[in-house]
Amino acid sequence: MTGPATPLSDRPEAPSRTKRNIAIFAALALLAWALVSVDVELDRLVALPGRLAGMFGRMFLPPDWTYFGTAAEAMVDSIQMAWVGTVIGAILSLPLGFFGAQNVSSGPVSNLVRLFLNAVRAFPELVLAIVVFVPIAGLGPVAGTLAIGVHSVGTLGKLTAEAVEGIDSGPVEAARATGARPLQVQRWGVIPQVLPEIVAFWLYRFEINLRAAAVLGIVGAGGIGQILSNTLSYRRFDKAGMAIVIIIVATILIDYVSGTVRRRIIEGSGARRIQGDVLEQPELVEAPGSGVSKGSTGT
């Protein structure tokens, strides 16, 4: 044992894999259960490739170009719904986000606001449209817009609160040291730090809302979803194909423009470089509030 003759077999012990194996086994068991009990006929699965190929052929080879005008108009409706919905969400979520941030608002208030935001977020736009806004505003794009707006308040408010909680407390203390009143502290100490991030969130939300606005027509809430729903149920696949092409092209174009503006806003601010991840997967962001020292708490 002594001396340099230590054999090579003295490698450190491999870390235990029991936990990992249990997790994999549990996941596989769940998958097996789902596969065995789901109500899918195998013959349909076998026929699937042929049917898909046939349908896509009728959709895109070629799409019905005479339908371009109608579909494009409906897509414009969807874009407008997404935009106005995002504006509504942005305006309402800004104060809510500040009240929901623990370092700016007080404990109970912020908890209450967070709870409200979570509850709002739980309702998908479509459910909001069916249950609340189509009855109120009638069929048409207004109902869809309001549904998008209210749902966006939930998500944007949460992101705003998290952005505010993540600020550097230095400028806040500096503003207070110069005798700024509470509102002035927000204006000069907090807002300049979070505004680029929040505006980027708005744009990102607009991209998501555009997708929601494209489907809200299914429940009669306006936009191109209506057209797609009608053409598919009458099996006019060439017209549906035109609508799909328009949705894809418009969405990719808007994503590109919006993404470019977002990157310019975030990187141009020069303060912090936000990882693409933070914007792309808002739901994965954990609240960074614990890092903010108590002394920086504003009012």
């Binding site: 109500d39 249950v131 489907v215």
Partner: protein
Amino acid sequence: MTSASLAGPAERPQKPQGSLLVPAGIAAFVLITYWALSAEFGIGLDLAAILKDFDRGQIILADVIRPNFAFFERTIPSMLETIQMAIIATAIGCSIALPASFLASRVTSPNSLALRMDRGVLNVIRALPDLLYGMIFVAAVSIGPLAGILALIFFNLGVIAKLLSETIDGVDMGPIEAARASGADRVETIRTAVYPQVLPNYVAFSLYVFELNIRASTVLGLVGAGGIGNLLNLQIEFFYYSNVGLIILELFLLVFVIELLSISLRRRLV
């Protein structure tokens, strides 16, 4: 010179030049909002009319907030179907997304042609929302959970490939160089140097997508693509809004529980 700098406020540093981009951005914002809001070009949102008609929604809402708990038993099979669809779609979607992500990252893609083609396909896939996939697949294979599963697979592929390829772009290059120096080929490098680095993120994204799938199943049923949404749609058509209330409540709880589980699992991983 020193006396001059002590002379007082006259010597303040110059204000930085404001960028023209900010007013330009604000102007664009105002214009687009006006265009989208106006009755002439846009959707014609009239807040006064909405407020006036607000009580029209109350009749339905009054039923929705009084869930009919007697309906619970009938929702169980649909809820289980929703969960089954989410599990299957997550498994298949994430399996396809793994190679697609390696092709879509600058670090691991074999050549720029494959990279661009893969990214192009993924962009197209991501441009369509889950529900549109649902409608398309219902048209192709008729109503039922199969259409829903197919729709979710495409939706998941888009989300995971985007997140994971960006994670792969950001991996530590050290292990990759080490693997190459020891003579590993491309696949071996990915297997030993890249995959272990992104595995925790991959699992986290998969859990995240599972959550999204449960949420999406509410709406997939509206177009006939199976799951709890089918039942929801039926109750709406028959104006059984207290049953709608129960389904919404159940989904809220299910999503909440899955979110909690998923957060605690993710915390252990990342």
